[in-house]
Symmetry: C2
Subunit: 338 residues, 2 copies
């Protein structure tokens, strides 16, 4: 099926209407629409437009509470603990990013540990935002269990996305990676295309590693990056988010029918602390130039720094419109009354 | 060859003698001996006793300067920038860990960015130390280039070890992982044993992924964990360490004949900031219990939290002595005069 191209403005307009009709005030509806659209504009449909119907379902089920406002539970110097009160993950994430930026501007570094929030959709959105504010961001979230710990059969770990962003005048560096080798969205895409995964991406029902997307979708067990290494890193990120927020761990989240009450970390560092942007900017560019200056492994391809392709996709879609799945776009339009 | 068992006390004694004879004062020699020994006691021979001859070689070549003292270059709130002046990586790392602990006790969080240091040997040593002090540690270092960036043929990334430690009365959680799937030491071990790697661990001379340790040792190109994901994470860690310390990047380090002038980050968070150790301790234990409570993938095996096996090895070796390679132990004894 041909993918319709929707303009950024049109997408924001329709989504704002939808959110207004689902209990969000004007300001919140617009902000949500902007973030869902910006992820889609950047080519991350899976955590943008494709996820809107599920978001509305969560609102209707009372999992995401439109009127909840995050609040600061306790503060000590540059560290604060916030409670998201099950408000929309996007709005809670924006608030906590802003707060951590504020703390970093005051004293060089700020950390906000957030509990009881909902899915933040694309974590990279907040990495880009923090970089736009001229700061370094290190963010992560826990999730419901979807990967076995190395050596075990049952899912015990979240894929716990990690975002690291570094501001740069020529284009921010934004890493946005889950701890799983592939997302279930990506595995599902391979399944739909009738293709095998290029690398092992999960386990079959017998606990054997497999490239077969069908078997992984069926077992529900994805594989951590680097096998035992990503398994350990995922567990430690869950510990940090849970401990610092005194929130729910992947273990507690896994007891629920639907994924909610997530714990997250927003660590922001002000790189202008030492007033030497000229020097540090040059150092980052040296690293990027060095990484680009290689013979590609496949003729006609090249290497990229994290965020480089996102920026190219954003520029392209701003001009040509945002490609969306026709079924999903129509289902969203059908959700809007009148 | 049978592996001699050396007591902790004897190893510290002999190494202290060796370091005293190589330009270190009493205090420095003892501290270095303790750290080299503690890594070996924990079963990390590759970054403990096995590395002593190379360390002495670096001292003799003037790469590691025995009399250099790290100094604070600039400070702003909880962030400090230090210069290691090419002193021994172990002593610089201990100093910066202590300093970051001090800052975290004062204001909840402390970050020390260190430049111009040498190899810290086992990064986990400082993770254990920070956890012993009741704090959370997030540490990383850059290295000389030893992995291609995803899609390229030439080495452009360091394996950039990352350490995350979390204090826990029943045994600290300490993750210590390089960004490469296997260290060259481990790959070399497979080669010596005539075995194939269980998973792809690097590239052959044609840029193809391979399980063959011989081909990887020959190309010198190791593989990042999670392919494109670890490639991106490694690059971003190098950027953070370089930018915050205004030090040398993997690019600059790679221009040198021998690996030196590394850049490192020591971020310490005080988890007692909110005075709820009882709650957070329970949360961490829930995560660990959950991860243990699985059917093992291989009968008779089990899952472990990061640091769990290290602790078991430490306890065993304290009682039975530390196994060392006879050739290496003899070569060290031969380095000691008289």
């Amino acid at each position: 099926m041909a993918q319709p191209l929707i303009s950024e403005k049109e997408m924001i307009h329709q989504l704002t209407l939808l959110f207004l009709q689902n209990g969000f005030n004007e300001n919140k509806a617009q902000t949500l629409a902007q973030i869902f659209t910006s992820s889609t504009l950047d080519g991350i449909q899976s955590h943008g437009i494709n996820r809107v119907p599920l978001f509305i379902e969560y609102v209707k089920k009372g999992i995401v509470k439109p009127n909840a406002e995050p609040s600061c539970v306790s503060a000590m110097g540059g560290i604060e603990r916030w409670d998201g009160h099950q408000g929309p993950g996007i709005l809670n994430a924006l608030k906590c990013s802003d707060r951590a930026i504020h703390l970093a501007r005051e004293s060089g570094m700020g950390l906000v540990a957030l509990r009881n929030t909902n899915h933040w959709l694309r974590g990279g959105s907040y990495g880009w935002k923090i970089a736009e504010a001229g700061c370094i961001g290190i963010l992560f979230t826990n999730t419901t269990p979807n990967m076995p710990a190395w050596g075990g059969q049952q899912n015990r770990l979240g894929n716990n996305p990690l975002v690291i962003s570094i501001p740069r005048p020529e284009g921010h560096v934004v890493l946005d990676m889950a701890m799983s080798q592939y997302s279930f969205g990506k595995i599902h895409q391979y399944q739909l295309n009738g293709e095998s995964l290029p690398f092992a991406g999960g386990y079959d029902h017998n606990g054997q590693l497999t490239h077969d997307p069908q078997k992984i979708m069926s077992s529900g067990k994805s594989l951590p990056i680097g096998y035992w290494k990503g398994s350990a890193l995922s567990m430690v990120l869950d510990m940090l988010a849970t401990l610092l927020s005194a929130g729910q761990s992947t273990y507690e989240i896994g007891k629920r029918e639907l994924e909610t009450n997530l714990s997250q970390i927003y660590l922001v560092i002000n790189p202008h602390t030492f007033h030497d942007e000229d020097i540090t900017s040059k150092l980052i560019n040296e690293i990027i130039t060095y990484s680009h200056d290689v013979v590609p492994n496949n003729a006609g391809r090249r290497t990229y720094y994290p965020g480089e392709r996102t920026l190219a996709t954003r520029m392209h879609n701003k001009i040509h419109g945002i490609p969306v799945n026709a079924d999903i776009w129509n289902s969203i339009l059908n959700l809007i009354d009148g």
